[in-house]
């Protein structure tokens, strides 16, 4: 079930990572090792530091303390790996943002090949074919739908065959049906390519459906880590998916609120038994 087998994914090691903006501590003491080819989910309320963590992994922010390293699959387990900022510059780490962030004045194909030479064009065609946009190569992004644009952004990230793919709430701006198919697409591309994936999301159910392991971040620290050992593709109605989602959401918002949100049961916050359970 683990996806490390075809060996394209890099290991990522975070050692006592911390980040502060002035006086405000956003991340502190994050120790985390991401296995090669693992699909890791990071959930948490807004302000928990999950986006900052992803920005550090993408090389857009520098940690205030600690280190983030990437060990390519070609390196032995003994190697400490490269600093993540170098790895990012060499195409080993790629990001899909919440918005597609395409250049409106470039064609779909040119957007996919941005920052690389023309020799990549044939690969760009291949990747666009795989995300189902092989017919729209020469159109401008402006005429595509939101879901199609996000698929172009996904193709742009994959054309360099990254060892780590970072996903910053990539499905959040899509409508429910488009979101489902985009999630399926990411999962199947991950299975084919075998990259290491890190998904930041506010949707715990989405994290449980896609990830091998889900972390709950709160106030800049890892509060909970849950292994999701279920067969893929996973369906929402599987009881285990619901149970894990509830567990994650309870950790974020408190169990009473989580039950109401997920199961549609009225929260009985005043019930003494529940308070005992909390204590």
């Amino acid at each position: 079930m683990r996806n490390g087998a075809n060996g394209n994914g890099a290991a990522v090691q975070l050692e006592h990572l911390g980040k502060r903006f002035g006086e405000r501590v956003v991340l502190s003491g994050i120790d985390l090792s991401i296995r090669p080819g693992e699909f890791l989910g990071i959930v948490g309320p807004s302000g928990s530091g999950k986006s900052t963590l992803l920005r550090i992994l993408s090389g857009l922010e520098e940690p205030t303390s600690g280190a983030a390293r990437v060990r390519a699959p070609t390196h032995g387990a003994a190697s400490t790996g490269a600093d993540i900022r170098n790895a990012s510059a060499h195409g080993a780490v790629r990001v899909v943002f919440q918005e597609p962030r395409l250049l409106p004045w470039r064609s779909v194909l040119d957007n996919v090949c941005v920052g690389s030479n023309r020799a990549l064009a044939s690969k760009g065609r291949d990747v666009l074919e795989r995300v189902g946009l092989g017919e729209r190569l020469h159109e401008y992004p402006g005429v595509l739908s939101g879901g199609q644009r996000q698929r172009v952004a996904l193709a742009r990230a994959l054309v360099h065959e990254p060892q780590v793919l970072l996903l910053d709430e990539p499905f959040a701006s899509l409508d429910a049906l488009t979101r489902l198919s985009a999630q399926r697409l990411v999962e199947s591309l991950w299975t084919q390519h075998g990259f290491t994936a890190v998904l930041v999301t506010h949707d715990v159910e989405e994290a449980v459906l896609l990830c091998d392991r889900v972390l709950v971040l709160e106030a800049g620290r890892v509060r909970l880590s849950v292994e999701v050992d279920l067969a893929r593709p996973r369906a929402r109605h599987v009881p285990e998916v619901g149970r894990l989602s509830l567990q994650l959401l309870s950790s974020i918002m408190g169990s009473a609120f989580a039950e109401e949100a997920l199961l549609g049961q009225p929260a009985e916050v005043c019930q003494p038994a529940r308070q005992v359970a909390h204590g």
């Binding site: 993408s58 090389g59 857009l60 990012s88 510059a89 195409g91 790629r94 990001v95 943002f97 918005e99 962030r101 250049l103 409106p104 004045w105 470039r106 941005v114 920052g115 401008y140 402006g142 005429v143 739908s145 742009r156």
Partner: protein, 267 residues
Amino acid sequence: MSDPPERPASATFGRALAPWVAPLVLLVGWELTSRAGLLPRQLLPAPSDVLGAGIAAIVHGDLLVHLGVSTLRAGAGLLVGGLLGLFLGLATGLSRSAQLAIDGPLQMLRAIPALALVPLVILWFGLGESAKLFIVAVTVVFPVYLNTFHGVRSVDPSLLEMARVYDVRGWALYREVVLPGALPSILVGLRFALGMSWLVLIVAESIGATRGLGYVAMNAREFMQMEPLVLTILLWALLGKLTDLGARRLERWLLPWQPRAQRLDSN
């Protein structure tokens, strides 16, 4: 998301015609009131008189030469001033220190009316073509400069961040992201500059000119010749409109990726 439904041919025709309705109504009304004697001809000549004077000036006189000379002056001034504005705008847009050094002085220069410069310009450049070129150039520098600066500064920061993550840097960053992002705004500046280059001819061609639209207008004013005076006024209106149409064509050609709805005017 889908294309707008196709309009019937008559509606398209109507849309093309609509902008000309008001000027036509005005002209016809003007002609009729003139003919009826309600509008004294020494105050405002009838359009037919103006048209007659125009045709006579083309056939017997040298109206086309005046127009040609003015077009060359406006074009040359636009080229010099526009390029200078583009260059300055890119410099201040891309570099904070350039902004600190030259934006302030440029804003002060911008506040000076071209007319106030005329005596100095005559002292510096004499009465020749360079004086006229200077006046046009110094006027069109600012719209191009301001809009280039603004265009470069308002390039979508999320695209710049994307470029950073995807290792687009150096010249490629300007070619792929910054310049195309600033281009719509630069073109707005060009459009303003085009309009102003015609307007400022009345100032530029008051400096020792013997040809040009500004000269014709000034001459007519000195001798109170109503027909040529009104003729130049109408020519200015027409030239301004034609230039604007040209600028819009250019915009469509240079920005094929822009959805119609995003354009400043979509007709």
